[in-house]
């Protein structure tokens, strides 16, 4: 069962997730090393692969606010973590869907570090506390992109269709 590896406050900006001073690094293969760089201990744990794939970052309101830098998503995607937050800022949400980073909007989420969470189709179940919380559905407009596994493959399919 996936565990909560960190519980964050409201308004976590993309400057915190991926500090601006590393923005010259762009490739998804290179960005993971700088995830939450200024949270030194957490960054070190991520880099040491201390958390199994599917581990969960719990955020508060307005997660991913600020800059449109896509590195903020690719850096988390590289560590194969999921994000469950009370609300998510628009561009970060779009970027996550485009890159296939698992994000869940869950306004009522109550969870502490170490809790075991299960993400179902419509809910998030906290198996440690026994409480269940409802998800807000991701924008329906983006379903095609999610089904294609991300915007690259979605665009590729559209492009091929256009040329045939």
């Amino acid at each position: 069962m996936p565990k909560v590896i960190i519980k964050l406050e409201h308004d976590i900006s993309t400057d915190e997730i991926y500090p601006g001073r590393f923005m010259a690094t762009v490739l998804p293969t290179e960005t993971p090393q700088f995830a939450f760089f200024d949270r030194t201990e957490f960054n070190a744990q991520l880099k040491a692969k201390a958390f199994p794939a599917g581990s969960i970052i719990v955020g508060g309101e307005n997660f991913g606010c600020g800059s449109s830098r896509e590195q903020a998503c690719s850096t988390l995607k590289g560590h194969e973590v999921a994000v469950v937050a009370k609300s998510i800022s628009r561009i970060f949400l779009q970027n996550s869907i485009n890159l296939g980073l698992q994000v869940v909007i869950c306004p009522g989420i109550e969870a502490s570090e170490g809790d075991e969470l299960e993400i179902t189709a419509d809910h998030v179940v906290n198996h440690t506390t026994g409480k269940t919380f409802e998800q807000v559905k991701l924008p329906a407009a983006r379903k095609g992109i999610m089904d294609a596994g991300g915007l690259i493959s979605y665009t590729r399919a559209r492009l091929v269709a256009k040329h045939t």
Binding site: A24, N62, C65, N95
Partner: protein, 429 residues
């Protein structure tokens, strides 16, 4: 049923008679802007074509704008190599709206787009920068996207699967008191709405105060609309929009303004009277932590910053220079000025503002994002505080997670540079 400005723009760009909130549309893109992160866009663009047998080709190179501004001149071999890679791509793909590191046509992307008349009322503009909301100042629907979404637009010429956003109507009335202006208005509004109050929504600006406001002021308020989470800010095009494009951007072709229907539907209406507004300060570490200046007077400041896509235009520099003329920047405080474009730098030089700044002890730097995101120059020391006319004060924003960033207007920044503490420009004015 009537439509808002953005609904009208999206209907036109999607080839439909009308659209309503929540509809999924695929508008044709009129302008697609990137800065240094074009390096990532190029990577994603090439990946889209991989294995298809189709030659990677931009749908319309005349609609792509690429402007170097985030780290100019390059601060590292890595950035310089990104610049080089982008430069080669620009040449190979016939992209003409390209602004390299130059002292004549260089500038911050959100200044270059209006300055060169690349944006018109009614356009759909996408940019790989969250402050792409700026171009709503010219009556365009302009919003930030990620690099992969831009690669998709480069490939297909459309913004895929856009959900028509709801619109908040902001009606502004009253005349600004002396030393209070558009920056104070938008900071105040962000404080009211909160940092996510307009998430997934558009802010459409109306009222006598907006009608009388210069395009420069409108850029400042649309620029910072994203700090309330807005997809876009927009001022419906009017006489001032046409004046700006004709006189300042040398546009000669037909300009058609798009205005909302009288019976358009808004999710909310916010009314603001600016006639009693005080200078506003956004305090660390959130842009919606906004206070009237009285509550933070006397806060010690080590670094004053005037510039950026928010407040680095000629009127901003003029206002600040008028306060600093014949004065000195306080000891223990450093002041950095970075005009938003080379053109503005040259104009400020002609008008003597650059001399005013330098004689006062300020360091005048080239255009660029510079200190705003702390990647290049103007980083804060441990525990230091900055007072800045830029747009963000998140933890770590100015290059140091132990630093503090306060946001303000150019006149507050200038008055505070003289004293070294947050100072009310209305006193002694």
């Amino acid at each position: 049923m009537g439509m808002t400005v953005v609904e009208k723009i999206l209907a036109r760009a999607a080839g439909q008679a009308s659209v309503k909130v929540g509809d999924v549309v695929e508008p044709k893109v009129d302008l697609a802007m990137s800065h240094e992160n074009a390096a990532l866009v190029i990577n994603q663009f090439q990946e889209v074509f991989q294995g298809t047998g189709i030659e990677p080709k931009i749908w319309d190179p005349s609609k792509i704008a690429i402007i170097f501004d985030h780290r100019v001149p390059a601060e590292s071999p890595k950035t310089a190599t990104n610049h080089k890679k982008i430069r080669d791509f620009v040449k190979a793909n016939g992209i003409t709206k390209f602004h390299d590191v130059r002292g004549d046509v260089g500038g911050i992307c959100h200044q270059i787009l209006p300055e060169y008349g690349y944006v018109r009322p009614g356009f759909v503009v996408v940019g790989t920068d969250s402050h792409t909301t700026s171009h709503g100042a010219l009556g365009a629907f302009s919003f930030g996207v990620g690099a992969t979404e831009m690669a998709s637009a480069w490939s297909l010429g459309i913004a895929v699967n856009i959900e028509v956003p709801a619109t908040i109507k902001v009606v502004v009335k009253g005349e600004f008191p002396p030393m209070v202006g558009p920056k104070d208005l938008i900071l105040n509004l962000i404080g009211e709405l909160t940092a996510q109050g307009a998430n997934f929504k558009v802010l459409e600006f109306h009222g006598e105060t907006i009608r009388k406001m210069s395009t420069s002021g409108r850029i400042a308020i649309c620029n910072m609309s994203v700090e309330a989470g807005a997809t876009s800010g927009i001022v419906p095009g009017d006489e001032e929009t046409i004046r700006y494009l004709r006189e300042e951007a040398d546009v000669t072709d037909v300009i058609t303004c798009v205005t909302p229907d009288a019976d358009a539907t808004y999710v909310r209406t916010v009314e603001i009277d600016v006639s009693a507004l005080a200078p506003q300060i956004a305090c660390p570490h959130m842009v919606d932590n906004v206070k009237p200046i009285e509550q933070v007077l006397g806060t010690r400041i080590q670094q004053i910053v005037i510039g950026s896509c928010t407040n680095g235009r000629l009127d901003d520099l003029a206002d600040a220079a008028a306060i600093l003329r014949g004065q000195k920047v306080a000891e223990g405080t450093r002041m950095l000025v970075f005009p938003a474009s080379s053109k503005i730098f040259a104009q400020a030089l002609d008008k003597g503002y650059i001399h005013d700044f330098m004689r006062a002890g300020a360091v005048v730097m080239n255009y660029g994002c510079g200190p705003c995101l702390g990647v290049h120059e103007g980083a804060l020391g441990d525990g230091e505080s900055a007072l800045s006319t830029t747009n963000r004060n998140f933890k770590g924003r100015m290059g140091n997670p132990t630093g503090f960033v306060y946001l303000c207007s150019p006149v507050v920044a200038a008055a505070s540079a003289i004293t070294g503490v947050i100072t009310d420009p209305r006193k002694g004015a």
